[in-house]
Symmetry: C2
Subunit: 599 residues, 2 copies
């Protein structure tokens, strides 16, 4: 199905799209099969890369699904394909990849289509469309960036995804990685081509929401209309602080240090991977995790909290060049940033799944915890059932206004962040490309001139020629300073904005859930009138939508306080580094100037 | 023949290329005729712009030549056309516009073509070729530059040349001005298209050399072979100083301040022009001159000293937009630089023609002096007859080596200067174009973000938002600083290099004359053997070539001492301004930084 380039010395077999290989061992484990090509060469091929052709079957069977015990993920997997096409068509219809477009449509009344009673039935489609659109945004967010960030000249990270997994291989779709992963992609690409480029990953991440109990519209119905909500063991209190509703912050906070990437291996050394050490600053204990474990955690957090709390996606996966030093550093840096975000969040960081991820004591405990998390039913809309605001129910008008305000703000900030990223990316390119080249040329031109002057045969100009040569060298140094500077300042500004782009890309889903619930309440009078629900049911609905609104405000207050801190820090850093940079250049120029003879 | 755009309110008539107008008055004076177009509109049109169609004549008659008393210039003018085509074909043959190419050819023995005896006859052609090639270089030198130097965005100086003259209008060829005059032209244009673009002016400047007595090869013969050189009244001593042969520097030097450009008018106010005031720093007396007077002076100096001393060409002529303030300032600045160069030169500044240009007391004295200068016969090669080196004759081997060394140096410096100009031009474009635009965008992006943040409704972030807004404004200020900086530093670096390019472009002619003379001496043995000349004649030749060599060395020593001074000054200025520039930016950034709240 896809081109696959073998890594040398890894017993792998290079295959091309369309090539037919004979499977000699359909499951050597870890998502690999052994095959033989037409030249008789044998080797390992990722099962994801091949379509098994049996007895003239027309339907492609994803080979990764051959592990019998993964029926659950099979369903996810088939759903991915379905969703991708849905996403594409929804995009074609919109003629835009703006994730906010469907929300805007929703705002203008489309959520309801004017069919109050039928809307329970029509919702799934529109919700799916909206969700896919949001997926695109996730992708667009992840795809954004400054391409020269960490890619040395001419260096390329080939795209394939294969051997990082020994379970849940369905999540690895080769399309989900991009050649320009390490930095960010071109903005044009992310604006226009994001869907095709890597939608499958985003879809894979998002779609379980639609399938898992309690998340999709039936979940919404369950949450809003249940006579009595099942009392979950977990409780997420919302208190009213100085700034309004807020999560309860744990008395002691912690961070998690991602460090010490180590190459591990499995399959008797056939396959290798990178394992990161995670150390909690509170316990000082360490656990090891591979990228796919982070990916699993992300998935669980998204399924559980995704309608209440923005869970930004992980840094894109990248397989070839995995052991390339710069790549590892970059991925680690971004995993670190992601983990720090999660640790900073009072709800996420205190959740059982997150704690378990960081604090399991052995493989068995990890596996048990993992299974438990996967069976968690308090996910999707039902997460709101764990929340108990210590405040009176809010008025529906106020709820809707606040929700709209959040939508407007996050949309506007998304625009602002995009603008800054676009400009930053452009500036990055100039600072690492043409500008230093120009300074180099100035340096070289001055040095050539000094060289010519030195052949004049005229006496007493060697001081001048020495000084001009030094001035030329100074401009070459300035060229290096200019080229290196973005790593010292713009990089951080870009990373922070990139992170916020990730957060903001989650809001269409969040706002969508809230607006959906609000619409339900609006329709409820008719349902009461037609005796489909009782007035008490309606009371419950209002209460529960009010809880959702408190949760949204608590989350926004968390978001804002972080945003203020983050932007203050990163712009300060940027200005400080920029000032230092210009001061250094000025110093170098003054030094060069001091070498000139005074005549 | 050419498009001509009327200046409003000037009684002018706009005509297009190919348009036929009826001449109502063929000579209203000053190079203008009155015409009527097909719409019946009447107005003045420069005679240069129209071709008079009479009795089915096929040949275009340059109407500028209609003034009967200008037969002399007519011959020059017709010569221009002839020479242009020669230049073109010589260029096509060389497939390069490098003025140095023919000199290189000469170096490799082509001067002689192996036909020692016949070479007197074959010389004129090759010399003409070489001279045309040199003309191209003059043009290329004048054409070089940074286009955004003084042209505001979108501002265009229409090209035509007409009403600055009331005599010698033949010198004004519309092709000689270029739309991008005010700065410099694109280097590509100067490299590739210089010949076509504006050769005629350079040709007009150069060609008299070929026509006037004593300059062309017959002049060379006259100088080298005359039994007794006519003793000219002028004497140009060459002494041996610490650095070798040198001109005698006058005890008191002077400069000439070009200032106070005033609009004058003639033809009862119909036509207007700019008159500059020139004040000598030694006499403190002032005279007024128009651009065409400078042009006349340049021509006289070139004819008289051009084979001994590089006389750089004047800034290009520019007619439309003449009264535009920036243009006047720029032309004045360049006329000033040119005059200062001339004043600095011990031979040129002391010459009668130059002194007379600065010190005439009334119109009559000026006209008398002018006529006298035009009748001067001590021009071209004959200028060397005025020189008396106080030193023994040089050895022919040494003469040739020194001449070659000068050729190599000036060629190499020409390359170096070109490189710096190319780089500087590129840098100029970036600094005045994309770079400030980018800083502006950064500034705007920061301000938009602050604006979004201010809508969050979250308390206590107004300090941050204020600070981000200020940081954004700082980047807008930086954008202005960046855009304005080249005028403060790069401009001077460019102007100096531009001036030197002008000097260096004169060397192919100078070296050519010297090499031509050296070749004559080499051939002289054969001439003696065939009794065409006497041994005494040969002795005279060696002596006179030795005088030329002393003159070349004296001039080179003058050139080098100026070069060292000029480059030291201008690079110091550049570095100082650059350092200040970066310090200013750093200060502004620190100020912006100080506004951020410390969290």
């Amino acid at each position: 199905m896809y081109d696959f380039a073998a890594e040398p010395g890894n017993n792998e077999l290079t295959v091309s799209e369309g090539e037919i290989i004979v499977i000699t061992n359909p499951d050597v484990g870890g998502g690999w099969l052994e095959g033989k090509n037409s030249q008789g060469e044998r080797g390992l091929v990722p099962t994801d890369y091949v379509e098994i052709i049996t007895e003239g079957a027309k339907d492609g069977i994803s080979c990764g699904n051959s592990l019998a015990d993964q029926a659950f993920f099979d369903s996810l997997s088939s759903n991915i394909a379905q969703t991708n096409s849905a996403a594409k068509s929804s995009n074609q219809a919109n003629n835009t990849s703006d994730p906010w477009s469907s929300w805007n449509v929703g705002k203008s009344g489309n959520w309801d289509n004017g069919n109050a009673v039928d809307s329970w039935a029509t919702k799934p489609e529109s919700a799916a469309g909206q969700r896919n659109s949001a997926s695109n945004n996730w992708e667009a967010a992840a795809a954004f960036g400054h391409p020269q960030a960490y890619q040395g000249p001419g260096r390329k990270y080939l795209t394939f995804s294969a051997d990082d997994d020994d379970w849940e291989d369905e999540w690895d779709d080769p399309k989900s990685t991009s050649p320009s992963y390490l930095g960010y992609k071109e903005s044009e690409a992310s604006e226009a081509g994001g869907v095709q480029r890597g939608n499958s990953r985003a879809a894979a991440m998002k779609l379980p929401l639609n399938k898992l109990p309690g998340f999709a519209k039936p979940g919404m119905e369950q949450y809003l209309l249940a006579k009595q909500l099942a009392k979950p063991k977990e409780k997420i209190p919302i208190i009213i602080g100085d700034y309004g509703p807020m999560w309860v912050y744990p008395t002691s906070t912690f961070d998690c240090v991602v460090a010490d990437p180590k190459k591990g291996s499995k399959m008797y050394g056939l396959k290798s991977y990178i394992e990161y050490q995670l150390t909690c600053t509170n316990t000082n204990r360490s656990v090891n995790h591979r990228y796919k474990h982070f990916d699993w955690l992300y998935e669980r957090l998204l399924v559980k909290f995704g309608l209440a709390i923005p869970i930004p996606s992980l840094p894109d996966k990248q397989v070839t060049g995995r052991f390339e030093e710069e790549f590892i550093k970059m991925r680690m840096e971004r995993l670190q940033a992601w983990m720090t975000r999660m640790c900073r969040h009072p709800v996420v960081s205190e959740s059982e799944v997150f704690q378990q991820f960081l604090n399991f004591r052995d493989e068995k405990e990890w596996k048990t915890g993992k299974r438990k998390a996967e069976k968690d039913e308090t996910v999707g809309v039902l997460i709101f059932s764990t929340m108990e605001p210590e405040a009176p129910d809010l008025d529906m008008v106020e709820i809707e206004q606040k929700c709209d305000a959040v939508g407007r703000f996050t949309k506007a900030m998304d625009d602002g962040v995009r603008e800054l990223l676009t400009v930053g990316q452009e500036h990055w390119k100039r600072c690492t490309g043409p500008l230093p080249k120009e300074y180099q040329k100035i340096g070289k031109a001055l040095q050539s001139l000094a060289l010519v002057f030195s052949t004049s045969g005229y006496q007493g100009e060697s001081d001048l020629n020495g000084a001009i040569t030094e001035a030329g060298k100074t401009y070459e140094e300035i060229a290096s300073l200019v080229a290196d500077q973005p790593k010292k300042d713009l990089h951080f500004l870009m990373e922070t904005n990139h992170e916020y782009k990730g957060f903001l890309g989650c809001f269409p889903d969040i706002i969508g859930a809230h607006k959906g619930a609000i619409e339900k309440v609006k329709e409820s009078d008719k349902l009461v009138a037609t005796s489909k629900i009782t007035p008490q049911d309606k009371q419950n609905m209002v209460k529960r939508v009010s809880t959702m609104a408190y949760a949204l405000q608590a989350e926004m207050n968390h978001f804002h306080s972080n945003r203020i801190y983050d932007y203050n820090s990163v712009i300060r850093l940027y200005l400080e580094q920029q000032a230092q940079f210009y001061e250094t250049i000025a110093q170098k120029l003054r030094q060069a100037l001091s070498r000139f003879p005074v005549m």
